[in-house]
């Protein structure tokens, strides 16, 4: 038995750009993120970073890849060892990657804390994670992700545990770091409304597949895939008239990935499903407009 958590997914991410991977739980977005990080070896397929294929190379290169990529986890408190001081949290990755000179270590710790604005740095280095607020903890997690000077950051639901105002503070910080260091960012989220402000691209995932890819504004203005359209309709903006209107929701639930439906995985819930087509043949990716892709037979 196999769970096809991520099934035939292809995309490119440019230097200095952020992409939002949007999907519901179980859609495979976290698995995809971990595969990109090199934490899972893909069953088949390639991950090419800076021109080099990740899993065809020697183990040294994988170590080097880990240095060039950073992870920002969802739950900052769970991601930080409670018994380690901030200084130790930040020097641990340096030790793993054999940066041993203490002057360099201190310099890097200082720089990382300044970048995430945990200042004055000297007030923070000897504190422990529980002494920080939720927002400060998440900034520490970002500092840890940045300490090896990576080229790419994977942020897995980095703000879903935080309050409205702190969310914007953290996402603004990530955006500033992206711009300043020309970072590539993979922002994994279920929250479409923040993607508008913090990423250049949106990829929508459903049941292990990317069903739609486009630049952020284009996708929000002109969504093509029926699943994306359904998703967008259910997300409220603050508006007192919302309370009088029920929302349209597609029937059913996402499929079991051990045994996904034949054809298009969304067809059992889709209002446009065409018998003899959508329930038999899996739709390929169609480039409907320039840089706007949808995996749906409506566009075939």
């Amino acid at each position: 038995m196999y769970v096809k958590a991520v099934d035939d997914v292809s995309f490119k991410l440019n230097k200095g750009e952020a992409v939002s991977l949007v999907g519901e739980s179980g859609s495979g977005k976290t698995t995809l993120g971990k595969t990109i990080l090199g934490l899972y070896k893909p069953t088949s397929g390639e991950i090419i970073f800076d021109g080099k294929e990740l899993w065809n190379s020697k183990s040294n290169d994988l170590m080097h890849y880990h240095q060039e990529t950073g992870l920002v986890q969802q739950d900052p408190f769970g991601a930080l060892p409670p018994f380690m001081s901030i200084q130790r949290v930040l020097t641990e990755p340096l030790a793993v990657h054999k940066i041993r000179s203490s002057s360099e270590k201190n310099e890097r710790v200082h720089k990382a804390l300044e970048e995430v604005r945990l200042t004055p740095v000297d007030d923070f280095v000897n504190k422990y994670p529980h002494m920080l607020s939720g927002g400060q903890q998440q900034r520490l997690v970002i500092a840890r992700a940045m300490i090896l000077d990576p080229k790419m950051i994977i942020a897995d639901e980095p703000v879903s545990m935080l309050d409205a105002s702190v969310r914007i503070e953290i996402l603004t910080l990530l955006k500033d770091l992206q711009d300043k260091h020309d970072l590539s960012v993979v922002y994994i989220t279920h929250d479409l409304s923040t993607t508008r402000y913090f990423s250049e691209w949106i990829f929508i995932m459903y049941a292990g597949k990317i069903v739609e890819k486009a630049r952020t504004k284009e996708l929000l203005r002109n969504s093509l895939h029926p699943y994306t359209q359904a998703l967008l309709k259910t997300i409220p903006d603050p508006d007192p008239d919302n309370r009088f209107k029920p929302r349209d929701i597609p029937p059913g639930e996402p499929p079991n990935l051990v045994n996904p439906p034949e054809g298009c995985r969304f067809h059992p819930r889709c209002i446009y499903a065409m018998a003899g087509m959508c329930n038999q043949k899996e739709p390929p990716e169609f480039e409907v407009e320039k840089d706007h892709f949808a995996s749906c037979w409506l566009y075939g």
Partner: protein, 323 residues
Amino acid sequence: MNSSLLDVKDLYLYFRTKRGPVKAVDGISFRINRGDTLALIGESGCGKSSLAKAIIRLLPTNIDTYKGHVYLDGKDIMQLDESKFGKLVRWVKISMVTQAAQNSLNPVIKVGQQVAEPLMIHEQLDKKTALNKAKETLSLVGISKAFADRYPFELSGGMRQRAIIAMALTTNPELVVLDEPTSALDVLTQAGIMNLLKRIRKSLNLSFILITHDIALSSELADKVAVMYAGQIVEFDDADRFYRSASHPYSAKLMTSVPTLRTDKKLEFIRGLPPSLINPPATCRFAPRCPYKHGRCSEDPPSFSLRSDQRIKCWLYSVEGVD
């Protein structure tokens, strides 16, 4: 129709800790009309859940202060002793859906029996009658009666949450407190639960207190909005006014941090942290972070009423204005 259902006056709930009392609910007053939904919004730690617990009297043991008046249908339920409160109020007139409740179902008891339990306890129904009524409530929330014989693990997260809502409705309460009722659910499942709540509050003429930190989501149900900050309500307003333009500087700032999907706006965040509830300052509690801070703010402002259904705890709205 427009009669008052719940009237809270000067409610206090302090928790005892080693470092001193935590003033989680610090002098709160508000009113809810029958059939209205009040959204209680604010950041984590501002005391919203404590306020709910104070109203339905589900309290931990380390209570320092618990006083004030809570009038339900005109009767002060704070005067009732614990056994009367359990018999007359809790789950009879006011019930609650707690946070992440879909994971609090007992895994080894069938769903129908768990939904029937409040009826056996509060209405002394026998098991069979209770189970039949539970099945009716389950179908009201969109779960087919056959699922009453299933165990929680056989239900999806959304269905479990519906079962929890059924458990809160089965005794026909007048007021249901919903504490983050959808926070652990997916977007589409969340929208389904919101549709359900919209439908039942109309058909049952129910009142809700919706506690959430998700402001966009709160507008799915709210007729009235109360914004809490550091243990106090800083703004109480009509939903129509609040979501279009919030008045208190804290509410207004909070609204600028809410991203919108359909329109562009400039997102901002509030610098600094809320004060500790152990020793909150005697000034306005938001003053250290407030862009409109002036001399008067060193004194704690009362709540000013500009209109009958609006109260704002800020000197900017005092009758004599800012000096």
